[in-house]
Symmetry: C2
Subunit: 410 residues, 2 copies
């Protein structure tokens, strides 16, 4: 099999130029000129490679190579073309590039597949322009509702609907069922974490995408003079927060992988050196691949927080504003990916994804699985997002092997 280094480099150089942000990294937001230029550019590339290329109603772009024996069984693959503001050139884009290059190579080398192969450049995943995520994949599986986005707008107060129509797209007909030819969805993505790097692995075979619960928590005590209020007369919400954070993270460490717990935002009031803080808002983000374990752990922490607040004479408000179930990947596809890695002597590991991906939208509808390649220092959503060129090329190689297994074997 070819080494994809050169083909990837050329393709990525071309695609990364569309939406390159003068303030750093890449900014390619849904339905903007940059986004449209990228999608139209990809359409041309797909056509030049001999793929049948077309947009759906909302702007997902498909490039198809028809199967000879089972044309109505499609192996679909891709990722999202949109980015966060000042993001990198791998998150999303790499999955489209890899799917295209793999299909192109297989077509050149082995001719027409038995099953149809499709690359999809999904319209949107990040939610970085409008407050709505997975617009692309949700439309494909038929769970995006026109009503969800009818009244939303971006920071410049451009309406979603106006931006969509200006880009030349419109709502899909909600009465139409989801297409029934998709036999599998496979996606390759950068890890966006540092597990593969720390463990010196080249490939991650994803067996599940975590569920997550997110909270805003407010502690109310009493603001007091830092000099004149003895320790015993204080209702110090930063002390309350520190006890909650310290004890909860210790518990999370004891439970261990795949549980993660983060207190990412802390905002005391008045937030000044010489006042005992009478009010603190903080966030908690908890993730796990097993729903029962996620619920059990967060329930325990919620009870702990209430008990600690009571002990310290503080009021507490706990708002769980996100509650998403974990999504397992298809077992058979995971086994296929693993068998390839073993056969070809890749240094790989089976792992979960701690971040959300388009695959989680497809997984409840069609057999779905993912591959990861390492992220240098785990950095993502940042101009410094990077993966060794060698790792990117090897990822595409494994991905092409997977496509071959799924589309060329009877």
């Amino acid at each position: 099999m070819i080494n994809f280094t050169e083909r990837y480099s050329d393709f990525s150089k071309w695609l990364s130029a569309i939406g390159s942000d003068p303030t750093g990294g890449m900014t390619r937001l849904l339905y903007t000129d940059e986004w449209l230029a990228a999608q139209n550019g990809l359409k041309e590339k797909f056509q030049k490679a001999g793929f049948e290329a077309k947009f759906d109603e909302v702007g997902n772009l498909f490039g198809r190579v028809e199967g000879s024996k089972y044309p109505n069984e499609t192996i679909l693959s891709g990722s999202h073309i949109d980015t966060v503001v000042n993001g990198g050139n791998l998150d999303g884009q790499y999955g489209i590039e890899a799917a295209f290059l793999a299909i192109q190579y297989l077509k050149e080398k082995h001719g027409q597949p038995l099953r149809s192969m499709e690359v999809v450049s999904l319209a949107e995943e990040e939610g970085s322009r409008f407050p709505y995520v997975f617009w692309g994949s949700k439309n494909i599986v038929g769970i995006a509702k026109n009503a969800d986005v009818m009244n939303i707008q971006d920071k410049k107060e451009t309406k979603f609907v106006d931006a969509m129509r200006k880009a030349g797209f419109d709502f899909r007909d909600e009465k139409k069922p989801m297409r029934d030819d998709i036999k599998a969805f496979i996606e390759i993505h950068i890890e966006q974490g540092n597990v593969l790097e720390m463990e010196k692995k080249q490939i991650g075979v994803v067996n599940a995408i975590v569920g997550q619960r997110r909270y805003n928590i407010i502690l109310k005590g009493q603001a007091n003079h830092a000099g004149t209020t003895p320790m015993g007369y204080r209702k110090d919400t930063v002390y309350g927060f520190s006890k909650i954070c310290y004890e909860s993270i210790n518990k999370a460490k004891a439970v261990g992988d795949p549980l993660v717990l983060t207190f990412g935002r802390v905002e005391p009031k008045p937030n000044t050196v010489n006042v005992v803080p009478g009010y603190t808002l903080f966030t908690m983000d908890c993730r796990h691949t097993d729903k029962a374990a996620l619920v059990a752990f967060t329930t325990e922490i919620e009870e702990d927080m209430k008990r600690i607040a009571k002990e310290l004479g503080l009021e507490i408000e706990i708002d769980r504003w996100m509650d998403e179930d974990p999504i397992p990947m298809d077992k058979k596809l995971v086994e296929t990916f693993e068998a390839i890695c073993k056969r070809d002597n890749y240094n790989y590991r089976v792992m979960h994804s701690g971040a959300g991906h388009d695959s989680q939208i497809f997984a409840p509808k069609v057999p779905t699985a993912m591959l990861f390649v390492p992220s240098i220092k785990g950095i993502s959503h940042n101009p410094a997002e990077a993966t060794k060129l060698e790792d990117l090329a090897e990822g595409i190689k494994v991905f092409a092997e997977a496509f071959y297994e799924l589309a060329y074997k009877d």
Copy 2:
């Protein structure tokens, strides 16, 4: 002795009208029109009461009743006329009102004292207009240097020197020594804490003003994705902060009064729900009445913080930007105040001041002591700053008794 309720109410109503802020509470900043109106108004009140009234060079206002036997032995008393922005009408002002009303009453009742009695309305204590504190008292004891304020300005970029001259004042002659007739400085102030209220005491006899050390501390770790970074691979600065805060405050509680420890400001970066915070700035404020104890405790906490940071793989920067020694009050004066409280059956306690006061500037130069009256809920520097009228009146009564002991007894 008279009940001061009515005299205090009338006087305070008049004085509180000068600098009453339409946005809430009182705002009377150094050398502003409101400040000058208050000082000029007080000068008239002092003169009407038969006191010899005069400003010094920088704008401290004195009202003097000459002693018959020891005219060159002065019992000086007062507090500051300036306020914080949107402050209350007790912090500072009450000490001037009480001294004036006490002297006025004693003069009416007992005639000329043996020693001279003086009330002083100090120009400035709060540092709320210009970045300089205790301008009034520091000029009286001769430790304010003209050079200290030569280049400072307020938020509107008005120079200190220009504001001072516009108000009709100028620098004192630095070659002149401090006046040598002050035999004692006594000050009455609201507690600005909740100790007297919680312990149902009417009067606090202050035996020391705390020393304080203030710090800015920065923890540096690594910003990571909250979903994709296992607990074991994190360098989480909010967790580091929480361990430091939790363990340090537990230690402070174990040490107990008069030690206080506050983590008032916490600022993680990027301060968002789904990123492990790679950077956290926080403050620490520690106070104690005993210098050795303050140094020993903060040294221990500094070592703890370094150890915790090292354990967690974090970098730490510890910046101690304030280091003020505790100031003991004059033992004999404290005994005099206590004896009066005992004799007159006041429900009092000896206590320290956790906040700074003009008395700490006088104390190293002349025998100095303070009285406190309770603050409702400990609130101060706030329009809600309040003390029961009864407690304010009783405070003036005790203060007048103290003046009598010091100025009328041979």
